[in-house]
Amino acid sequence: MSNYAATNSPNERSTTMPTTTDTATIEKVIFESLETFGAEPTMISREASFEELDVDSLDVAELAQIVQDKFGAEIKSGDVPQIKTVGDAVDLVAERAS
């Protein structure tokens, strides 16, 4: 039970990296990540707040690693206060995606 996303093989990067980073792809990756973190799938939406999904700073740190890896988008701990909802996270990643 203690395996998590960070132990994916590095080769996976090239196969999962989308050719164009559209918002729908970012949303899909973030939704899936939140589900992996243990959020209730039926509650996950753009409007849902991280608080109601019980997503805390450790989850955000994991999420930051995932979006950096997949989209080249850097999220720092200083960004956390402005990320209230899932939609905020999607938009921030879309803005910074390379």
């Binding site: 039970m1 203690s2 395996n3 998590y4 996303a5 960070a6 132990t7 994916n8 093989s9 590095p10 992996t36 973190f37 243990g38 959020a39 019980d54 450790l58 740190a61 994991e62 690693q65 950096q68 890896d69």
Partner: protein, 399 residues
């Protein structure tokens, strides 16, 4: 000095889920060893945790949380806590901590680089993670920390908790040990030391013994100021009457050959309990099945209990569970109290060829009734020793 009561017990062991399961199955002669190891095959984390909780906890923390849950339920404390949060604590021993997390993340680092190491790596692998997780789940805000003394850690944690209650630092402390080290690195490292059995058999005190069998699991006791436990109407299962701890200060892994420091810990624990050797009804041995431990421990028991040593049944839980390292002292404290309460001495399994030098009553073969003098509650001694020369001894009494 305040009296310290035991009001709940929990154990996750290779013999199954539950402290009573441990004693019942061991007494029935069951052995939790498969292919030279003793995993907790019946443990399913999702029986105890949400998906989120489970992925926030290394396996050793999961064992600790599950054992704590069972112990608190028995103490009648799984809803509202009977004490102010600041007056409650958790002290949990471990030999190694979250080594599975460490190994997974080292592999991620090696194969994928630093950016592959998980943010959860440190909070999951740190040795105090078990105590912290139990505290968080049950809102324990007093003394909470981990204890490191290798295979004596579970007993040292219980001893530290007893002292915290006696000194007035807390009214109640969850105490025990947890370990989940059935991993490639730990397996190879113990084998490199020749500490584990090459033939895959745990047979403490047998002439053919050749090392221990690695096990995993956790044990947790609910310890309370006995007056406070009585005042809240708790059912008291027994008491930690005495605790003694010493160090060989001799060798990183080998015990002192004459068992002198281990004997001193036993004598300290008996003196702390104000109990004489002839009042001891049972000894739960550390009994690892290594050539060195079992010989030195036999000498220690003889030195501490003197002429009484040959009259007292001595058995090793590790003959059924393998060696749970930092959890061993905790599950064995639970097994000792159940031996006293059920009046059944579980046997040292696998002991078929006596070693001439080891001539105590090691209860070979099968379980037998525990003899306790009329009107007495039953007193047991539980020995735990660890690499580094750590010796921790508990004296328990049934209520």
């Amino acid at each position: 000095m305040k009296k310290v009561a035991i009001t709940g017990m929990g154990a996750i062991t290779p013999l199954g889920v539950g402290a009573r399961t441990l004693h019942a199955r061991w007494s029935a002669g069951e052995i939790g060893i498969r292919d030279g190891e003793a995993p907790c095959a019946e443990f399913d984390p999702l029986d105890f945790f949400s998906r989120k909780e489970a992925r926030r906890a290394d396996r050793f923390t999961q064992f600790g949380l599950a054992a704590a849950q069972e112990a608190l339920a028995e103490a009648g404390w799984d809803g509202e806590a009977p004490y102010a949060p600041e007056r409650t604590g958790c002290i949990l021993g471990t030999g190694i901590g979250g080594i599975e997390t460490l190994e997974d993340n080292f592999a991620a680092l090696r194969d994928g680089g630093p950016e592959r190491v998980a943010p959860l790596a440190v909070p999951l692998m740190m040795g105090n993670a078990g105590a912290a997780a139990i505290a968080m789940r049950h809102d324990l805000r007093g003394p909470v920390f981990g204890v490191l003394s290798a295979c004596a850690a579970g007993a040292n944690a219980i001893g530290a908790a007893v002292r915290a209650i006696q000194c007035g630092d807390a009214d109640a402390v969850l105490a025990g040990g947890s370990e989940a080290a059935l991993t490639p690195l730990a397996r190879a490292a113990f084998a490199a030391l020749d500490a584990t059995s090459a033939v895959g058999i745990s047979r403490p005190f047998d002439a053919e013994r050749d090392g221990f069998i690695m096990g995993e699991g956790a044990g947790v006791l609910v310890l309370e100021d006995a007056d406070a436990a009585g005042a809240r109407g708790a059912e008291i299962l027994g008491f930690v009457r005495g605790f003694g701890t010493t160090c060989d200060a001799h060798h990183l892994t080998a015990p002192r050959a004459d068992g002198a420091s281990a004997a001193a810990a036993m004598s300290e624990a008996l003196a702390d309990a104000r109990i004489e050797a002839d009042e001891v009804d049972y000894v739960n041995a550390h009994g690892t099945s290594t050539p060195l431990n079992d010989r030195a421990e036999t000498l220690a028991i003889k030195a501490a209990l003197r002429e009484q040593a040959h009259q007292i049944p001595v058995s090793s839980t590790k003959s059924a569970t393998g060696h749970l390292l930092g959890a061993a002292g905790a599950i064995e404290a639970a097994a000792t109290l159940l031996t006293l309460r059920e009046r059944v001495v579980a046997p040292t399994l696998g002991l078929s060829t006596p070693d001439e030098e080891l001539d105590l009553d090691f209860v070979p073969g099968q379980a037998r009734p525990l003899e306790v003098p009329d009107g007495m509650p039953g007193v047991g001694v539980s020995n735990s020793f660890g690499f580094g020369g750590h010796n921790a001894v508990l004296v328990l009494e049934a209520a």
